[in-house]
Amino acid sequence: MVKLKLPRHLHRNHPRSRELFNYRKLWLSRLFILTCVAAGPFLLLALFNQTVGRISAERDVKLRLARLVSNHEINISDFLDQRRTVLDYIIRDNPADNLADSTRLGVILDNLNSSMGGFTDLGLINKNGRQVAYAGPHELLNTNYKEADWFKKFKSRDNFVSDVFMGFRDMPHIIIGVRHQLNNRDYHFLKATIDTRQFNNLLTPTLDIDRGDAFLINHTGVLQTPSRSHGSTLEQVKLVPPEKNDKATVEVQVDGAGKKTFVGYAYLIDTPFILMITEPVASAMDPWRRDRNQITIFIVLGLILILAVVYRTASRMIDEIFAADQHRLQSLDKVNENQKLASIGRLAAGVAHEVNNPLAVINEKAGLLKDIVTSNNQYKNDTKLVSIANSIIASVERGGKITKRLLSFARHMKVEEHPMQVEEVIRDVLGFLKKEAEYRSIEITLETYGEIPSFFGDRGKVQQVFLNLINNAFDAMEKNGHLAIGILATDDNRVAVAIRDTGCGIREKDIPYIFEPFFSTKTASGGTGLGLSITFGIIQELGGTIEVDSIKEKGTSFTVYLPTSGSKENSSNENSTR
């Protein structure tokens, strides 16, 4: 995707005191600022999704549960109302003695079961609680319900729905009853037992949530229908029966297993039932959590991408500043080096001039001495005197040569362009280094192949190039080395100068860096790492090129190509580089 690498300024090893900035600090601060700006909105989005998103998802779940509760409430109420209405109709429609006939009651029960179903038995009970007629599977005729709880409650009401109870066959049932006033003093009840299996079916099939639960409890929290996870019928539910409320309500409770659960409920009017639909918070919030996880993945991926881009941008920016600063330092060093050489030149010229005058006096005095000796008969044959005079004159001549060389060096410190023979320049340079070469037993050969056209440029600079290269060659060689210099004209009108030493060579991996400023393998022995980079710069200024070829432990060969007047006409950017 994005290739990351450490910025260059972090793995350099030269001193940084002269640099304009603390690059590591600058890099870190840019990295920090860019990261904040780029990643901030992402993190805000994540925070928003975590808080506001959660609240809204919770609200949605509660709304959904409340709607579900309302629907179920209507279904169950309808179911009970229907049965109540039917019983009411029957008790009003049939005369009292008709209903008191168990056979007739049996016919009605059959008709009810074939039309509505779910009726287990029918019984007619007089106001004293005695079952005067009964149709159903049990022998309950004349049973007295006077002391039964439901009958006590029932007496004062027009109709009645009982809690669920275990019937004689160990099946959960409810009783629905209606009261009919026969006259001012007398009344009777019609009671039906209803199998709650049909009743339960109302709760289960409509509940599409496999993780949730729908059931009825009575006002004291006893389960009236089976539930998936809150116990079976007639067990105490592990939830707090909520406060009475007219409409469907949703609250969060902790269930028996200690899990947070959404509880939707509604009080069923005219019944002892509370409808409850529950759903664990964990599973209800699942869709939101899935969304959140996806968003989180996107945010994390986005952040990684942003950080990578930020890293690259910051690193590249600082790298560019760093490079510019390095370039500035390099130019500064070059200027310093030039100024240093110029001062050396002035010093050399001054010394040479001052020394030349006394040398001239010595020369004339010794000359006069010799003149007198040779013209005077008295000393004419004193060869010792003559040889002393000759020796003084020869020494003066030697001194003169040295000062002349110094003067010529100083003269060429100034930027002046003249035509020159490269060979002459190299001989000049070798003149400076002759003593050292002799002292170190380095053999120097200089060969010229064919006719060399003259090079037009600044003699001092050309001198400096070869002085640097030959000095480097000397440094690379032990005693008894061999320095071979070859000069020839190339086909494209350039002068090629090859300087080949038998020194220690350059490691292959170092070769690409040798012209870079501050790269030095001689730092221990005082190398600045500037020599070759200055040389390279001067050669470029002169419009030339340099090539290097080296074998470790065998030697190094530098080849300098300089343009001559012939090639200059062809070179279009010649002036711009000067």
Partner: protein, 124 residues
């Protein structure tokens, strides 16, 4: 034929004059441009050997003044300062001049003198 020798270094001019006289040249010398001009007014010199760098009046200025007095005069410059400009200034004129860097070999000097004055024979 007379030669005028001018250099601010007394030891040098005196000795050089003596050596040239030993070689048969007629030489007068001076250590400053002012006295040199006085001598030139009194005597006619056919050649002047001048130091390039002297206090008060340098070789090039002195040459111009001497030429005004004696237009036929020839010149040899001697200098301890081998700078390119002075060399070019000294040699860029219609009349032939010589430019020698100190210390000067006596035979080089006499050779130059003879060449400029077309004198035959060697005195070394």
């Amino acid at each position: 034929m007379k030669i005028l020798l001018v250099d601010d270094e007394h030891e040098l001019v005196a000795t050089l004059a003596e050596r040239l006289e030993m070689r048969g040249y007629e030489v007068d010398w001076s250590t400053s441009g002012a006295t040199a001009l006085e001598k030139a007014c009194q005597t006619e010199f056919s050649l002047a050997i001048l130091d390039m760098k002297m206090p008060q009046m340098d070789g090039l200025v002195l040459r111009k003044k001497l030429e005004e007095i004696t237009p036929t005069m020839r010149f040899i410059f001697m200098t301890g300062h081998g700078s390119e400009e002075t060399y070019q200034e000294a040699t860029s004129s219609a009349t032939p001049v010589r430019y020698l860097i100190k210390p000067v070999n006596i035979s080089t000097l006499t050779g130059a003198i003879d060449e400029l004055t077309n004198r035959e024979g060697s005195h070394d």
